[in-house]
């Protein structure tokens, strides 16, 4: 401002309204009218779809994540489990309590119990302190015939809770006395589910649980005994972190032998699968945001163009550029906030449908929805708006004020670089946030950008071909083809968006369906639902009879011997040579089940070597599972020694076998020849299928007290539930993606509506009849849809092939059916949709159209 102006401007009669409050007030005034305006409605619709998709996925993954964490803490019995071969110093436990953690001490060791009839049995003793378990629920029953319930307390002093099979093994009843060390205990309850039993399902010795206060009086635990000490801690995440710091920062060396486990270190496979699913869904939902963003960008540009006059008038009456910018932004943002809130609500509704699969089929205890996904949904709406609409909104303020006198002065064109930079930043931000991993996010952003650019280039190439191909075709069709050529930027955007949307649909509907079916088929309908093991050789006939009564089919019994590998080619192998926690480490650190067989089972596939011939079945030969062979670098002919029941036995590797672990049949890492293993007094294992609602456990345990029965029904239901949940979630999210693609169609058609109206009016004025104009419209959109569908089918087929080949290891060959489906789906869907959106243009009279201009 000049000095004159400044000096006199201070005496100006008014002060201009430039603040955000004014902008917000104006936005509220405009709200209802804006809602009725086409462009803002498309922006709102796009944001509703994007925010719904993102919120549904995040609500879902957040709840599943927390459910899994709950389940994991239940497996540990606390938020943190500390293990040690001697007691944890009381000072440490006190420090943990000071941090706000509650603690329960446990001592576990093997021992022998004696009944009053002087029967003995090896048992796994667990002495538990008050508050056990800190997380999860211990289920007990008062008698075999009574239903289980959650224990509210630990065994009273002087009493023990025992696993049901101990009663059979000792031939005693609940209420009878047993002797453990120097003490006598009364058996007062049966243990039904012990949450933190973990991987000891196959342990031979049945559980005896007593009160920690009774432990000393048994006289069983001395400094020399093989007891394992554990402390379960529970509390807030901060308190847990503080406690870890205390252990980690110990420099005295006193705590070096302490092992800490929490939900992060002990992740079950199911959790990893669900995590991946969540990550995948999250990333797909961002593709949906990208499409919605394209629709937002197109509509925002149309909105900005329509605001040019209003902007010039406002500035004429004294509004600064900043005021105009703020008012425009506030108008768009207000609509966006409303749309985002609606999106979050819709997302919450959709996610509850997804969660119901998990809750129903997987018997998951799903926590209530959190606030974070809602906040993330709202922020996604805002980021999408800023990333895709801001350049146009900024532009509104740049309208030359002189437009009020000279209408030909238009909006300056939006900066392409600014648009791309903002959209790219928004996309990256959302991806990183969703993936939680910068590298992964960048790889996917680049992948998405590459696919979008590739489809864009195909669209450009198609237009180039069309330019020459349209010559010589009928006029109505030629108009349609020419219409595509007149708006190349729009058409490339439309085609790219439809392609991405249709690709998502085709991937789910055709390719995804096949993959999910293949996965579902991994659990055959005749999959066994029970495992029974610890069957003694002399009980085989009884077992065959009892199981035969409830189950049809040929139930095979596999001999089972427990052992662990100790030497390879004469050299000792020890767990500490391998990374802590790796498969190689774990398999050297515990006994596992081995079996023997003379004939090869039909589902085995030999990777190397030959199955032993009948004349070799007495030789010391073994068959090794292929992952074990890889882990320890084993080859045919290598000599491997095992310790079985305290004895060293050695055999040569005859073959390497691929095992399908999903068959629900007993499988073994190591199979030996009968001659080599049969003398190791095996027990037997079998799997079988019963009809629904047949509880075979009781019959089996009654007939063979020492047998352990595992009911797989719950596990099978869980896996089927997981597959259903994954399919449903993927279908929902992909459906959102397709919807977002459709909104891009509406947005781009809307953007060209004014031009189309003028063209239609002119064509009608010079004598074109409605029939020709309809033909032109239908040709334009059908052609666009057919090309987009064909490209989408090609890309979907390729992606589907790659995913099934490399990720699922399934055979999938995209056929001509896929291409034809894409072609017709695109032509019909987009042709019909485009026709519906634009037919109003043709129905109006030329005079009305020209006057409207």
């Amino acid at each position: 401002m000049s000095r004159d102006t400044q000096a006199q401007g201070s005496n100006a009669k008014t002060r201009v309204s430039e603040g955000w409050w004014f902008a917000l007030r104006m936005a509220l005034v405009y709200l209802l009218r804006d809602w009725r305006s086409g462009e803002l409605r498309v922006i709102a619709l796009s944001l509703v779809i994007a925010v719904s998709a993102v919120s549904a996925v995040n609500f879902y993954t957040d709840r599943v994540e927390r459910a899994m964490e709950r389940q994991a803490t239940s497996l540990l019995g606390g938020d943190v489990l500390v293990r040690r071969s001697r007691p944890l110093p009381n000072t440490i436990i006190e420090q943990a309590r000071d941090e706000g953690l509650s603690a329960t001490q446990l001592v576990q060791f093997p021992s022998v119990v004696l009944s009053e009839e002087e029967e003995t049995q090896l048992v796994a003793v667990k002495a538990v302190g008050d508050g056990y378990p800190q997380r999860g629920a211990l289920k007990i029953r008062d008698a075999f015939d009574l239903p289980p319930y959650t224990a509210q307390d630990i065994p009273e002093p002087g009493t023990v809770w025992v696993e049901s099979r101990l009663l059979g093994l000792l031939d005693i009843e609940i209420g009878d006395q047993i002797y453990l060390g120097d003490r006598q205990f009364k058996t007062s309850a049966l243990i039904d589910i012990e949450p933190d039993r973990g991987g000891f399902l196959f342990q031979l010795a049945p559980r005896v649980m007593l009160n920690l206060a009774d432990l000393d009086s048994t006289g069983l635990v001395t400094e020399a005994s093989r007891a394992s000490y554990r402390v379960q801690f529970a509390g807030s995440a901060e308190a847990v972190d503080q406690f870890r710091n205390i252990i980690d920062s110990d420099t005295s060396g006193e705590l070096d032998d302490v092992r800490i486990e929490d939900v992060r270190t002990g992740r079950p496979e199911l959790r990893i699968a669900l995590d991946r699913q969540g990550q995948f869904l999250g990333l797909v939902s961002i593709v949906c945001v990208l499409l919605a963003g394209a629709a937002v960008a197109v509509s925002a540009q149309g909105f900005a163009a329509r605001q040019a006059d209003a902007s010039a008038v406002m500035r004429t009456f004294g509004a600064t550029r900043q005021t105009v910018f703020r008012v425009t932004l506030a108008r768009v943002a207000l609509i966006a906030v409303c749309a985002s809130v609606l999106g979050v609500v819709l997302g919450a509704l959709v996610h509850s449908a997804l969660v119901s699969y998990l809750a129903r089929d997987m018997n998951f205890d799903i926590p209530a929805p959190g606030v974070v996904p809602a906040v993330f949904g709202l922020l996604t709406g805002m980021i999408c708006l800023i990333g895709f609409a801001l350049p146009s909104v900024l532009n509104v303020a740049k309208v030359p004020v002189l437009r009020v006198l000279r209408h030909e002065l238009a909006l300056p064109s939006v900066s392409g670089w600014l648009s791309i930079a903002l959209a790219f930043t928004a996309l990256c931000l959302l991806m990183v946030w969703q993936a939680g991993d910068v590298f992964l996010a960048m790889v996917i952003v680049l992948g998405v950008v590459a696919i979008v650019v590739m489809i864009g280039l195909i669209a450009v190439f198609t237009l180039w071909v069309l330019r020459y191909a349209r010559i010589g075709i009928r006029p109505g069709w030629r108009f349609g083809a020419s219409s595509l050529l007149r708006r190349p930027r729009n058409v490339v955007l439309q085609m790219t968006s439809f392609c991405v949307g249709m690709m998502a649909l085709l991937l789910v509907a055709i390719v995804g369906g096949d993959i999910l079916d293949a996965w579902r088929d991994e659990i055959p309908p005749d999959a066994p639902n029970y495992f029974a093991f610890n069957i003694q050789a002399q009980e085989l006939d009884t077992a065959r009879r009892v199981i035969g009564d409830v189950s049809s089919g040929d139930n095979l019994f596999y001999p089972m011997v427990r052992g662990r590998m100790i030497e390879i080619n004469g050299e000792a192998v020890v767990a500490s040579d391998y990374p802590d926690g790796s498969q190689a480490y774990r398999l050297l650190n515990r006994d596992y089940n081995m079996s023997f067989a003379s004939e090869m089972r039909d589902d085995y596939v030999l990777e190397q070597g030959q199955w032993w011939a009948q004349d070799q079945i007495d030789e010391p030969l073994i068959s090794i599972e292929s992952s074990i062979a890889t882990t320890y670098d084993l080859e045919i002919g290598d000599k491997v020694a095992f310790r079985i029941a305290g004895q060293r036995v050695e055999a040569s590797i005859a073959n390497v076998r691929v095992v399908d672990w999903n068959t629900f049949r007993p499988n073994f890492y190591v199979l030996g020849t009968p001659g080599w293993l049969a003398q190791q007094s095996p027990t037997y294992i079998t799997s079988f299928k019963t009809g629904p609602d047949v509880d075979v456990t009781r019959e089996l345990v009654k007939a063979m007290p020492g047998v352990t029965v595992i009911d797989l029904n719950a596990l099978i239901d869980r896996i089927r539930g997981l597959i259903d949940a994954v399919s449903a979630a993927v279908e929902y999210v992909m459906m959102f993606t397709l919807l977002a693609g459709a909104v891009v169609l509406v947005a781009t058609v809307q953007a060209s509506r004014a031009d189309r109206m003028r063209e239609s009016a002119l064509l009608k004025a010079v004598g074109a009849n409605s029939g020709k104009l309809y033909q032109s419209l239908i040709t334009e959109f059908t052609l666009l849809g057919a090309i987009a569908g064909l490209v989408a089918a090609t890309v979907a087929g390729s992606v589907g092939w790659a995913v099934s080949r490399y990720l699922f290891e399934l055979q999938y060959i995209p056929g001509a059916g896929l291409l034809l489906t894409g072609l017709f789906l695109g032509a019909l869907g987009i042709g019909g949709c485009g026709y519906l959106v634009t037919r109003g243009v043709i129905n109006q009279s030329p005079l009305q159209l020209l006057n409207d201009r």
Binding site: M1, S2, D4, T5, Q8, G9, A12, K13, T14, R15, V16, S17, F22, R25, M26, V29, Y30, R33, D34, S37, D309, A310, A312, V313, M314, R315, T316, F317, G318, A319, T320, R321, Q322, T323, V401, L402, V404, L405, R406, H407
Partner: protein
């Protein structure tokens, strides 16, 4: 600087050139004028003579290439676009040939807009009484597309006068209306300015309308050709 406190608008040696494919094109060539407070001035001339450009420059909508313009004692020539906007707020009213009502706002909201922009008190009450003054008390909640051309221009008049402007700029205010409606709008405009003693700068082709002004200035090929009282 203007010579006297009585002068509301002054232009000295105003030249406006624009780039064209055939080189620089001079639209205004050393135009000078002085308008006193309360004076009604008509600028007439054939199409392309530069009268609308002059109106735009006098109102601060466009900038000069050379020369200087003062509005209400404040220099427009060297002010930025936003500063010129601030200067117009609450000081300048406009009436356009194509009405330029904001389609998303009701008649009342359109009239209240400049009051709100100028941070005036009770904008809605004042807008209401202004609409009553132009005979549209019953139409306050109508949107522009629900009003006839004459009604729209009367809303535009109400909007222009609501802020009690020092100067009203009118660009062919009756150009889009039939004769009878145009006369009614012109009557309303001249009556409102008379009551408020508002300075009027009117660009028109209509000699009858021009003759209702105190002064008629004629533009020819970017120059001020004559001035008749």
């Amino acid at each position: 600087m203007p010579d006297s406190d009585d002068i509301i608008l002054k232009a000295a040696d105003v030249t406006r050139r624009v780039n064209s494919p055939n080189g620089d094109l001079t639209i205004l060539d050393s135009v000078g004028l002085t308008i006193r407070k309360g004076e009604a001035v008509a600028i007439v001339g054939p199409s392309g003579s530069g009268k609308s450009t002059l109106l735009g420059i006098l109102a601060g909508l466009d900038n000069v290439t050379e020369g200087e313009v003062w509005l209400d004692g404040l220099s427009l020539s060297s002010a930025s676009e936003d500063d010129r906007s601030r200067l117009r707020a609450g000081r300048v009213g406009f009436v356009f040939q194509s009405f330029h009502l904001l389609p998303g706002l009701t008649a009342l909201e359109n009239v209240a807009l400049p009051l709100e922009l100028a941070n005036e008190a009770n904008p809605r009450a004042r807008a209401n009484s202004m609409l009553a003054e132009v005979g549209l008390a019953e139409r306050v909640d109508h949107y522009p597309n629900q009003l006839s051309g004459g009604e729209q221009q009367r809303v535009a008049l109400a909007r222009a006068f609501a802020i009690e402007p020092s100067v009203l700029f009118a660009d062919e205010p009756t150009g889009n209306l039939d004769k009878s409606t145009g006369d009614q709008v012109a009557d309303a405009m001249f009556e409102l300015r008379r009551q408020r003693n508002t300075t009027l700068v009117l660009v028109t082709h209509d000699p009858n309308l021009a003759n209702r002004c105190d002064t008629v200035m004629r533009m020819e090929a970017g120059k001020m050709a004559a001035e008749a009282a």
